[in-house]
Symmetry: C2
Subunit: 287 residues, 2 copies
């Protein structure tokens, strides 16, 4: 059976891929198998992978709200758009949770020109890592794509690298690092260039250095830093209202009851109930 | 009187700008003044600069076909699109006329990754310039925009620079140079970066180094290397047919009569007559 990917390519329907994405979301192998089988029975030629994703999510919602939320993480990040400004600030907030000191949208003077840097992030001090006592300052370029099937290519990594060269030349004393963060995957060429030039790459299911430990979804999932757009039982309008309300992380809504949520974000009763159920499922009832 | 630029900005109608673009096209100051005045009489608030351009061209066509053609150069280059592939080859052909040895769409191995270079151009040998006897090989990035009011920005210059660094590291013996060629203008930041890092920039009315002598329109006009889309008395379909016919330069059509042109390119009788009149006006009747 052929299915159509977001990039337009066609590929064979692969039960193993559906199983893998489900178990990665914390669903038990037995439950994952049950859902995969019910999806496989209904599949028709030419179905898009996006349609399959929606069907899986719907099935999962019936039995495991937290699993459905984690399963929707990539989609939830897409909804931080459309212009990427919110994604930029979300990434900065995630890094803060890891001890980085961040500033967004900084103009930084290089030897030739001044550069607009999406995030300037000073790494957390640790005696093991910095015997010299000077933390590395990362100049982070954030690439946000709100279309599926797009990859971030070598050109972005090269641009980010040239920019750090220019800034480094202007300020010899500070150790600068280059970091490219995206919500998509990288092309093979981008990965090769990053590994070769020491450009740190954090994207969807890829990170250099540090392997998948530093991939975007791992950084998020390790401390439960899910974006506020994660709740699968909430309408798109409701999810956007939460993001516009200046809340970055789903856990910030822990302990708020449905009426409070409805009032604060101007969302429907149904959406407020969905948020409440989602927060409870993801984080339990206590902070 | 306010007019609207292609970028969407509004500005005061400036007679001096119209005069300047006409005299730059070889029109006498008296004739330029006559045309400017007739345009100014008809102008209404909010007219776009594109509309004004069309009116000037129409007036000029009545008295000076060659002037009208030169006046349309920027537009003619736009019509080499839409995807820029033809523009790339056109630029390579222009450089060939200046003695460069060129290859288009080359994969070139760098220290980290291999790069797709739009044009690889080895500069002509001359004793004065190359005492060491090794010509510089330019790795040229071609940026083609078919929208008016767009500028090529510093990001492209930085990417081109990082690419040459990578190739240079892989092959120490060859002197490489970076060159960015576009049919638009550059942002101020791109110019500053180019001057600072030795990135050669050739764009519309800008060049570094070499000042306007190396700007795209000067490179074209100096030897009359007008693109085949230059003829203002020919329909858009006709101009596209000429470009698709594998002819790069207008002068290549010198000496062909209207019937021959009509047959070879499958264009209308009217368009063939327009080409013939245009070639004759631009280059005279003899090769």
């Amino acid at each position: 059976m052929q299915v159509t990917k977001a990039s337009g390519e066609r590929e064979r329907y692969a039960p193993a891929k559906v199983m893998e994405s489900l178990t990665r979301s914390g669903v038990s192998p037995d439950e994952a198998k049950r859902i995969e089988r019910s999806i496989a029975r209904e599949i028709t030629p030419g179905d898009s992978t996006t349609e399959l994703f929606e069907r899986v999510r719907k099935r999962l919602m019936e039995t495991d709200i937290a699993g459905a939320a984690r399963y929707s993480l990539k989609q939830a990040i897409m909804e931080l758009g459309p212009e990427g400004y919110y994604f930029e600030r979300y990434v900065a907030h995630v890094l803060e949770k890891y001890g980085y000191r961040t500033k967004t949208n900084q103009m930084t003077q290089g030897a030739c020109v001044s550069h607009e840097i999406d995030i300037v992030a000073e790494e957390p001090m640790s005696k093991e890592k910095h015997s010299a006592g000077i933390p590395v300052t990362y100049l982070i370029e954030v690439k946000y794509h709100n279309a599926r099937g797009v990859k971030t290519d070598v050109k972005e990594a090269m641009y980010a690298y040239a920019r750090v060269l220019d800034v480094q030349e202007g300020r010899k004393g500070v150790p600068y690092g280059t970091w490219l963060v995206t919500n998509t995957k990288f092309t093979e060429n981008a990965k090769r260039y990053g590994a070769c030039r020491g450009v740190r790459l954090t994207g969807w299911r890829h990170a250099h250095p540090g392997g998948t430990e530093e991939s975007l979804e791992r950084l998020i999932e390790h401390w439960g830093l899910y974006p506020v757009t994660i709740f699968p039982g909430v309408s798109r309008a409701g999810r956007i209202a939460l993001a516009d309300g200046g809340v970055y992380f789903a856990y910030e809504l822990l302990g708020k009851d449905a009426r409070e949520l409805q009032k604060r974000f101007g969302i429907t009763e149904h959406d407020a109930a969905g948020v409440y159920a989602g927060v409870t499922a993801l984080f339990g009832t206590h902070a």
